[in-house]
Amino acid sequence: EDQVTQSPEALRLQEGESSSLNCSYTVSGLRGLFWYRQDPGKGPEFLFTLYSAGEEKEKERLKATLTKKESFLHITAPKPEDSATYLCAVQPGGAAGNKLTFGGGTRVLVKP
């Protein structure tokens, strides 16, 4: 069974204080690892897809990296508008290859 564990559950940062979020996973053949951002009362908003170990993607203050066991979302010099829940999800390969299995998310609060 595919499993995704995110840590920490919550993270409080001062504006400008860089940090990293962890996503550990077990999956039967990784087809893709996805990062989403979710604001309160909204649906998840797509950020990145990573397909293979060693791959990195960047967008503004966010950078996602992938190894064979985990992914990291690095937040560099965060601003209050980066406050949100960040969700990680895996998509398995093979016949079960379309549904996403999500972790519980990391709630990030950036204080000015």
Partner: protein, 111 residues
């Protein structure tokens, strides 16, 4: 262009009643997904459509839950004999390739 839309945004019902939740995917997206998200948790997969047919319904919790997509576009999630444990946010997503794009969700409250 328009994103995924879901109606209603909120639904309050009484235990035992029947409810329908609607999802309008991004135009041209062939795949459509339903997920359920409880408070403080990540979304959990319910069902996936490719075109009109349900390609994977392994996440439906029991036979009170049913979903249709008769013309390969709009989808309706139907819940019979609702229970208090069905209270959650029901999310719909659509995709053309691997990336799934989510709607805002329907918050279902069963009293």
């Amino acid at each position: 262009g328009a994103g995924v839309s879901q109606t209603p945004s909120n639904k309050v019902t009484e235990k035992g009643k029947y409810v329908e939740l609607r999802c309008d995917p991004i135009s041209g997206h062939t795949a459509l997904y339903w997920y359920r998200q409880s408070l403080g948790q990540g979304p959990e997969f319910l069902i996936y459509f490719q075109g009109t047919g349900a390609a994977d319904d392994s996440g439906l919790p029991n036979d009170r839950f049913f979903a249709v997509r008769p013309e390969g576009s709009v989808s309706t999630l139907k819940i019979q004999r609702t229970e208090r444990g069905d209270s959650a946010v029901y999310l719909c997503a659509s995709s053309l390739g691997r990336t799934q794009y989510f709607g805002p969700g329907t918050r279902l409250t069963v009293l």
